[in-house]
């Protein structure tokens, strides 16, 4: 048995003294980030969420250091009472790596807040505004058998007005939500076939909301999917709406907050990147070391074998959308690999696994080495493990790794893994699809390195082709994703929304560069970006390098050097005399602290917070020899250069 979704069954139960733990945390001192995250990682009910949220608020007020949580200021516009939502949200956001500062507005002031340029929503320096309106605000709470299409169109027009106003007033980008369908069919099964019923109108509006979001670059919270999952009988509570104007049942608060937390985490680049699988009794039934190839249960023919096959299929589906798979198992390496190589019923093959760790060391060190060899943080890992003792140990040793609770029966494993929402996405690009392929190619590249005599020899043998292009519409999604997901090789860690990126294209004072790389093993896709902003300094024009980031997969290939040559060429073309680089230190980008010095920039200033400013005289720069062919995208041709 698994508890229903509203009880967050993938999280361990909170300790009995949770409220007093929160009060102690709230009045404590010192760094607060890790403890906030630890306390958030329990299956909290609404009251417990409130205790934690208030404790976080108290520590925020006391200016506590919440690293590694990312601050996020979210505005909330709603046609309903939001006090209970506000109680749950900060606790759930911490679970997803976000320090939430929630700005609520008075009851039912959606239009006023959006339209009035002097409203709090338009002036609070928000990172996003959640437009949490439901069927009642959109006037879709009664059927209109004569004029359903007009009513749907009017509802969408209302939403468009809000989005346009928020955009026009330069508030933060809106997050729209889909609309759950209340369970009150006028016709029963015939409902869907009649224009103007509540269901047909809301379904039209939900399609329109997705189009509106695409058109205006809004993120979407799929509230309708959440209500469907929980069950609309539970979601819609007539008494709680009537008496307190709660937009949905109070019991659904923690699950709703977790959905919002995931989305904010994904916007901040905190979604997980890698699924680490235990083997015995997690991807097959039985213990390979004891039961042998014939004894383990996997594949069609038995309920248990099919259940484990479904776990493997879930992992493969995640891999198809760009999630990396790894293995960590207490086994002899040879024994653990045998089913992958020889068992005919295994869906998972060795080639699907980017890092395979089968040994007798403890799981914590294995997970550390998986993160290291993939060049990702421990907070990007999820461990699926059937053993409660291993899970508890791992959570204690490495609290940043997500470890879902699992019930006895493996049939529930895929459902729990998906329910936990570790891999929330706000975009899905062609690069996601090919990323897994390129992680596999990494292993082949490593082999070439082993047979090469030196670095130059190795880089030359890769036959790299770098393509440098200004930002364009085709690349926009991936560019946005890179600014939000890249933490290590990122000089300034500035996060941009798709609409910001679109604005750069139109801005003559902004010069942009997107870089793709191919080598003989495959296409690595778009792997690096530069954004420069023009600045006048008296007679002289300079470029401030606003953003310089690169995927760590192409470290050590002289891509940075080749990129600088492109930036300098662009600068010369436009008459720019000086490049100014900035390094803003974070917990994760230490690897690029010396980036600009390595490229020949000179440091002009180091601020007390560690931010460093550099300059490069464009006239003095000489391009080095590069181990790759450089091609230019369609817009800037070599002739015009």
């Amino acid at each position: 048995m698994v508890a229903p979704f509203v009880q967050l069954p993938w999280l361990p139960a909170a300790p009995a003294d949770f409220a007093s733990l929160c009060r102690r945390f709230g009045s404590g001192e010192g760094p607060a980030g890790a403890e906030a995250q630890r306390l958030s990682n329990f299956a909290l009910d609404a009251t417990q969420s409130g205790s934690l949220s208030r404790a976080i608020a108290r520590r925020r007020k006391a200016k506590a250091d919440f690293a590694p949580l990312s601050p996020f200021r979210l505005g909330l516009l709603s046609n309903a009472t939001t006090d209970l939502i506000a109680d749950c949200l900060p606790a759930a956001a911490a679970r997803h790596g976000v320090l939430l500062d929630l700005v609520t507005t008075p009851f039912d002031q959606v239009m006023q807040q959006a339209l009035d340029p002097s409203s709090e929503t338009n002036n609070a320096g928000l990172d996003a505004v959640l437009v949490a309106v439901d069927h009642r605000w959109l006037q879709l709470d009664r059927s209109r058998l004569g004029g359903g299409d007009e009513q749907s169109a009017a509802a969408l027009e209302q939403l468009r007005t809000v989005v346009t106003a928020l955009r026009g007033n330069r508030a933060a980008p809106p997050i729209l939500q889909t609309v759950p369908v209340p369970p009150s069919p006028l016709f029963g099964s015939y409902e869907r076939r009649v224009r103007g019923t509540i269901r047909t109108m809301i379904e039209d509006v939900n399609r329109g909301i997705l189009d509106l979001a695409d058109e205006t670059g809004c993120t979407v919270l799929d509230t309708a999917a959440l209500a469907e999952r929980i069950g609309t009988d539970l979601w819609f509570d007539a008494v709680q709406w009537g008496a307190y104007k709660l937009p949905f049942a109070a019991e659904a608060g923690p699950a709703h907050a977790d959905m919002v937390g995931r989305l904010l985490g994904a916007i901040r680049g905190k979604a997980r990147k890698c699924l680490v699988l235990d083997l015995d009794n997690t991807v097959w039934g039985g213990v390979i070391g004891d039961d042998g190839m014939e004894g383990i249960k996997i594949g069609q023919g038995s309920a248990v074998g099919e259940a484990f096959l479904a776990v493997q299929h879930a992992a493969l589906d995640l891999r198809d959308r760009g999630i990396i798979l790894a293995v960590s198992s207490k086994n002899d390496d040879e024994v653990a690999r045998r089913p992958f190589r020889e068992h005919p019923d295994m869906a998972l093959k060795e080639s699907h696994i980017s890092v395979f760790q089968a040994n007798w060391s403890d799981k914590a060190s294995n997970l550390e080495s998986i993160a290291r060899s993939l060049n990702i943080g421990l907070d990007a890992l999820v461990l699926l493990d059937d053993n409660p003792a291993e899970r508890a140990q791992l959570r204690a040793a490495l609290p940043m790794v997500a470890v879902p609770e699992l019930p006895q029966d493996p049939s529930w494993y895929p459902g729990i893994l998906f329910a936990a929402g570790y891999f929330e996405a706000v975009t899905f690009s062609a690069e996601d699809r090919i990323r897994v392929q390129s992680y596999a190619s990494d292993a082949q590249r490593a082999e070439v390195f082993a047979t090469s005599r030196d670095l130059g020899d190795y880089l030359g043998s890769l036959a790299m082709v770098m393509t440098a292009t200004p930002f364009d519409v085709q690349g926009r999604q991936r560019i946005t994703q890179l600014t939000n997901k890249t933490n290590q090789f990122n000089l300034t860690t500035r996060r941009y929304r798709e609409s910001d990126i679109a604005a750069f294209d139109a801005d003559p004072a902004v010069w942009t560069l997107q870089v793709r790389l191919q080598d003989r093993f495959g296409d690595l896709g778009m792997i690096a970006l530069v954004i420069c902003r023009t600045r006048r300094d008296g007679e002289e024009t300079a470029w401030d390098i606003d953003t310089w980031l690169m995927s760590c997969r192409v470290l050590g290939r002289k891509v940075e050097e080749a990129m600088l040559a492109e930036v300098v060429a662009g600068a010369r073309e436009t008459g720019v005399a000086r490049l100014r680089g900035t390094y803003i230190p974070t917990a994760k980008n230490g690897m690029v602290a010396e980036h600009y010095s390595r490229l020949g920039f000179s440091m002009v200033e180091e601020a007390t917070d560690g931010t460093r400013y550099y300059e490069l005289d464009v006239a003095r720069y000489e391009a080095p020899d590069l181990p790759m062919t450089v091609r230019h995208g369609s817009v800037r041709t070599p002739e015009s250069a």
Partner: protein, 82 residues
């Protein structure tokens, strides 16, 4: 659950909601006597009691009962008799 147990459950939840570690309630306690027992926290208390005790209040029962004793009586009626 007897009346004393119901009263301690109310005290426990209301204490969590108002961040009060040792909240003591008697039948005569009213909302005005408790720091933080305002209308918003009353809603939180009601829905927390509903989840914790698997009961539901009706629309006309929700407006704050006169005192804790009246709330205990209301809950006692809704719980299966022991």
């Amino acid at each position: 659950m007897n009346r004393d147990q119901i009263r301690s459950k109310i005290a426990e939840l209301l204490g969590d909601i108002t961040d009060n570690d040792d909240l003591a309630l008697t039948d005569e306690t009213t909302a005005d006597d408790v720091d933080g027992w305002d209308s918003v926290n009353h809603v939180k208390l009601i829905v927390a009691l509903e989840s914790a005790l698997k009961i539901r209040f009706d629309s006309d029962e929700i407006t704050a009962p006169d005192n804790v004793g009246a709330l205990v009586d209301l809950i006692a009626e809704k719980l299966p008799s022991a």
